[in-house]
């Protein structure tokens, strides 16, 4: 059990540095979102929700991509580290998607006049939320950890198919949701808004990296404790059997 301390995990100091940096960059992003970036000519100040909503959505997709990679890695190598990474990232992705849905709804009310509409992008995003909620429900229902990891890996891989569908939904279907604001052909907004968006994206990515490190440590330590307790149980059982045989 000597590796149980976070300080024993490689990169602990680096992770702490990332956490501090995330806080600093987030403070800059908030300053830019509320002071530096101009208010939108049509939507007014409520458009500033965009600097929260869009980076959270992009980083949630990144988190599910990491879960997808973790799932493939686990099914291929059968190494528990991949599953721990997938689990850790899926939880953060779920939290970020919750924020995306709530912030989107709070933007939709004043702009569209409704909290929710069964628009293609909103519906596919809600579906994504349910897929990863099911990911955790599945894990908790299957008692054998190896089987739970295998099933969850499959769900994490297939669940990720929804991400490109969400991204392309505004092109494939007629939707209320605005299209991509930044594309290969350039940005459909002033430079100050683009810079603010990218700083907010950097801050959200750093927060994700910090959380991922912490969550990964939690998952790893939980597994180590479970393994240790199982070994102790086996040893005790052996001892009892030996003592029984001597008597």
């Amino acid at each position: 059990m000597k590796q149980g301390s976070t300080r024993g995990l490689p990169g602990w100091r680096f992770a702490q540095g990332v956490g501090v940096l995330a806080g600093v960059v987030m403070a800059i992003a908030l300053y830019m979102a509320f002071v530096y970036a101009p208010a939108d000519a049509l939507q007014g100040d409520v458009q500033r929700i965009f600097y929260l909503h869009v980076p959270m959505a992009w980083v949630a997709f990144l988190a599910f991509f990491v879960t997808f990679i973790g799932g493939i890695g686990y099914l291929w190598k059968r190494h528990r580290g991949w599953d721990q990474l997938a689990r850790a990232s899926a939880e953060i992705g779920l939290v970020f998607t919750t924020v995306v849905l709530l912030s989107g709804s709070l933007w939709g009310k004043p702009i569209w006049g409704t909290w929710w509409t069964w628009d293609a992008r909103l519906t596919t995003t809600l579906l994504l939320w349910f897929i990863y909620l099911a990911y955790f429900m599945l894990r908790s229902y299957v008692s054998d950890p190896e089987r739970a990891a295998r099933y969850a890996a499959v769900l994490g891989i297939f669940g990720f198919i929804d991400v490109p569908i969400i991204y392309k939904s505004v092109d494939w279907w007629r939707t209320l949701h605005p299209g991509p604001v930044v594309s290969t052909s350039g940005a459909a907004m002033p430079d100050s808004m683009v810079y603010t968006l990218f700083v907010a994206l950097a801050a959200t990515t750093l927060i994700y990296a910090y959380l991922l490190y912490q969550r990964y440590w939690i998952e790893r330590t939980k597994d180590e404790i479970a393994d240790y307790q199982y070994r102790m149980y086996e040893r005790q059982l052996e001892r009892e059997m030996r003592e029984g045989a001597t008597i």
Partner: protein
């Protein structure tokens, strides 16, 4: 336009409340796990110290005699 500020405020408030609650929950889990690891390390320390050599059956019998 001024009325819409409440939506902006609530969106940021909810987001930061969720993030703060999540960070707090992670911090609590890390603390609990550290305590658990510490408790297990402490519990296994006596087992790691060299155990006395087991006495053979005839030694036990002669000492009893």
């Amino acid at each position: 336009m001024g009325d819409n500020l409440i939506y902006l405020f609530v969106a940021f408030l909810i987001t930061w409340l969720i993030m703060a609650a999540y960070l707090w929950s992670i911090g609590r889990q890390v603390r609990n796990l550290r305590d658990e690891v510490q408790a297990l390390e402490n519990a296994e320390l006596p087992a790691e110290s060299p155990a006395p050599a087991p006495r053979r059956q005839e030694q036990v019998e002669s000492s009893q005699a």
